[in-house]
C-alpha cells in the first residue's frame, strides 16, 4: 500500500525542535515511537502495568536527556535501548530468571462490533495471536518488535535483541515461516504459497 501525504519531518529535526521547547515536535516524536517503545516492553512479555512503567520512564528519560542526545537522527535506537534496559531491569528486580512464562493468550481479543466484517477479522486476529504463542520465544520477541507500528529499523531491532543487523533478515524469514506453519495448523489451511 502506498500512502501519499506530506513528507514527514526528519526525526533529528524533531529532536532539535523539542530541545527548543516545541511541544508539537515532542508529540510527533511520541506518535512516531510510542508503538516501538511499547513493542519492546511487550516483547519481554511484561504485564500491562509494567509495560506502562517502562514507557513512562523511557519518555521521561528522553525529556531529561533531550539536550544531551549525541545523534538526534538515531533517537529511535536510543529510545528502544532505554526501554529494553528498563524492561530487563523489571525482570531482574522481580527475581524472575528470564522472560515470563505467561503466554500471548493472556491478551483479550476484542471484537469491533462497529465493523461489518468484525467477526471475521477478529477470528483471523485470534488465529494470528495464537500462532504467535506457538512459535519459539526468540521468534515471538523478534516478530512482536517487527510488528510495531511504524516498524522499527533493523538498527533498532539489533539494539534490543543484541543481534547483528545482517542476521535479522534471515531470522525474520525463519520466524515468519514458523508463524505460517502454526497459523496453518490453527486454521487448517495450507502453510505454503497457494498452488
Amino acid at each position: 500500500m502506498t500512502v501519499t501525504g506530506p513528507v514527514e519531518p526528519a526525526v533529528g529535526d524533531l529532536v532539535l525542535a523539542a530541545r527548543e521547547g516545541d511541544a508539537e515536535a515532542w508529540d510527533a516524536l511520541v506518535a512516531r515511537f510510542a508503538g516501538r517503545v511499547r513493542a519492546v516492553a511487550r516483547s519481554y512479555r511484561l504485564s500491562e502495568s509494567d509495560a506502562e512503567d517502562v514507557s513512562q520512564v523511557t519518555w521521561l528519560r528522553l525529556v531529561s536527556n533531550l539536550d544531551r542526545i549525541r545523534d538526534p537522527d538515531r533517537v529511535g535506537a536510543w529510545l528502544v535501548t532505554t526501554a529494553s534496559h528498563e524492561a530487563l531491569r523489571i525482570i531482574r528486580r522481580a527475581g524472575r530468571h528470564g522472560v515470563g512464562d505467561d503466554g500471548w493468550e493472556e491478551a483479550i481479543v476484542s471484537d469491533d462490533p462497529a465493523a461489518d466484517s468484525g467477526m471475521i477479522v477478529a477470528e483471523r486476529d485470534r488465529a494470528l495471536w495464537k500462532a504467535m504463542g506457538m512459535v519459539p520465544a526468540a521468534c515471538q520477541r523478534l516478530l512482536r518488535l517487527l510488528a510495531a507500528d511504524p516498524p522499527p529499523s533493523y538498527e533498532e531491532v539489533s539494539a534490543v535483541l543484541d543481534m547483528a543487523p545482517g542476521s535479522i533478515g534471515p531470522t525474520r524469514r525463519r520466524c515468519l515461516d514458523r508463524l505460517r506453519v502454526q497459523l496453518a495448523r490453527i486454521t487448517g489451511g495450507p502453510a505454503g504459497s497457494p498452488g
Partner: protein, 158 residues
C-alpha cells in the same frame, strides 16, 4: 534445527504476513490511550533549572545478583554530578515503595521526590540522610538542593 519446517514463501508473502500480524497487534495490543497521554505530557518536565545527575551505578543491572524467586532485594542506585552525588536505596512494600537516600558529600538539604502525579518533599539531615515511605509505583526523579547545588537525578523506576 534440521527439522525446521519451511514453506518456501516469497519475500512478498513474508511482507504480507508481517503486515497482517502488525494489523492484528494494532487491534489486540495497541498503545493504550493513557500511555500515549502520559508520554506526551512528560514534556512538561523539560526544564533546565537544575543539573542532571546521571545514573552511575544500578545494583539491579550492574551487580551479579543471587536471584531468589519471590524475594525482591533492595535496589541501590547512584546518581552523580561533579559537585554532588546522590545514593538511593529503594525497597518494595505492599502497594508502593520506600526510599532511603544519602547526599555525598554529607550535608543537609531539601529533596523533592517528583513523580508524574505530584511530588513529596523531605529534608536531608546534617549527615545528608533522607527517607520517604508510601511512594506510588512508577517513575520518579529527585530534585536535591544542598548548599549552592541544585541537582535532578535522572528518572528511574524503584
Amino acid at each position: 534445527m534440521n527439522e525446521e519446517p519451511t514453506t518456501d514463501a516469497t519475500d512478498a508473502e513474508d511482507d504480507v504476513l508481517l503486515a497482517e500480524l502488525r494489523a492484528a497487534v494494532n487491534r489486540i495490543d495497541p498503545v493504550p490511550p493513557e500511555t500515549m497521554a502520559a508520554a506526551r505530557s512528560s514534556f512538561v518536565w523539560h526544564t533546565i533549572d537544575a543539573e542532571l545527575a546521571r545514573l552511575a551505578h544500578d545494583s539491579v543491572l550492574d551487580d551479579q545478583l543471587t536471584l531468589t524467586r519471590g524475594v525482591v532485594a533492595p535496589a541501590l542506585l547512584t546518581f552523580e554530578t561533579p559537585g554532588l552525588t546522590v545514593e538511593i536505596e529503594t525497597i518494595s512494600t505492599d502497594g508502593g515503595w520506600q526510599l532511603h537516600g544519602q547526599l555525598v558529600p554529607a550535608q543537609p538539604g531539601q529533596v523533592e521526590i517528583r513523580h508524574p502525579g505530584g511530588a513529596t518533599s523531605v529534608v536531608a539531615d546534617d549527615m545528608g540522610r533522607f527517607t520517604a515511605d508510601g511512594l506510588p509505583p512508577g517513575p520518579v526523579s529527585l530534585r536535591c538542593r544542598a548548599g549552592d547545588a541544585a541537582v535532578d537525578t535522572d528518572w528511574f523506576l524503584a
